[in-house]
Symmetry: C2
Subunit: 204 residues, 2 copies
């Protein structure tokens, strides 16, 4: 039994988030329960509620970490490419690779976003916006005649689409993909999409 002052509030907070991630990675979203999480850090349920508002609060904070990791992962892989188009392909490959590599957390993130009835927390929106920013940056060189708004909208459309394809892969539903893998699908999508996009928005 953990004793008074063994750990500060902040330490318990971090221990719980770490343990929650381990549980989610090992057993999936539904495997996370208050009692299991408390046991994992050698405290009892009650203590969790001194540090978090409720279980949803834990999930939300794990998701914030996931968004940070996702952004860092994508940024590290969106370096300068020879061809501007290649940057978009590279980003999509990185997105799919992240989801594959960190499937349970990626899953939890988007199940949370989907299930959340009302508005997302502001910090969430801001982090998602940063991810979209990477897509916009990759798309901009391909559309020198497009306004910032047009690039933004195209980025959202393209990424919602890549995300849809990614969902197939993560939920292991490639049986629905007609024999392709997610990378091939997203490649076909981007190739065709960019052809249209460039012909509309790029000079020369």
């Amino acid at each position: 039994m953990a004793r008074r002052n063994d750990h500060s509030r902040e330490e318990i907070h971090q221990m719980a988030l770490d343990a929650a991630e381990r549980i989610v990675v090992a057993e999936g979203y539904k495997g996370l329960s208050a009692r299991k999480l408390a046991a994992a850090i050698d405290y009892t349920v009650g203590t969790l509620y001194l540090v978090f508002e409720n279980l949803d609060d834990v999930v939300r904070q794990v998701n914030e970490r996931t968004l940070d990791k996702l952004y860092a992962w994508l940024q590290a892989r969106s370096g300068a490419s020879t061809r501007p188009e290649e940057a978009v392909f590279a980003l999509a490959r990185a997105y799919i690779a992240y989801a594959e590599n960190d499937a349970p957390r990626w899953n939890m993130l988007f199940e949370y976003i989907a299930a959340q009835g009302g508005a997302l927390p502001a910090s969430h929106l801001q982090k998602v916006g940063k991810v979209f920013g990477l897509v916009e940056a990759a798309l901009a060189p391909l559309a020198d005649r497009a306004s910032a708004t047009e690039v933004e909208q195209a980025a959202r459309v393209l990424w919602a689409s890549v995300h849809g394809i990614c969902l197939l892969k993560i939920s292991q539903r490639m049986e629905l993909a007609g024999g392709q893998d997610a990378e091939a699908m997203s490649h076909m999508l981007i190739e065709n999409f960019l052809r249209g996009f460039r012909s509309t928005h790029q000079a020369a």
Copy 2:
């Protein structure tokens, strides 16, 4: 209290599926519980387990109905268009409209598909395949130089993408869409995608 022989097994089965749909429509996926469902048809929990394997079985059977309704809805709206391209746009509009119109059931269907660990039931796969068939039929006239496999793959790519966009709308996450609505997004997607697809696979 319902009495012996008031209803046949089959009647109870149908009553339960009807009631389950009403509950899901009224209160969402998570609002469906065994006790609530039993009360809605004036039986007790035990009776449900004589007719269904478990709650998941109920959900699966409701989803089969949803897939049938979705197919019928799309088919009714995929009639002959003047331009072949318009058929694809019409299908996407119909898909989004269905999801909007029947959001709780549409949601439950795809949450189930995503959450299901292993393989989907064969009947599910077959019904999803029928929906994809509609997309392939709309795509085929635009690619007279493409093989059946290429059309099939393009249909899956395009529909996974439309689905991704649709998810934004249904989970009321249009804040992430850069000021567009789902119809505009899917229109942009299809327009650009088809331009690339036609230029690769269509003669003349």
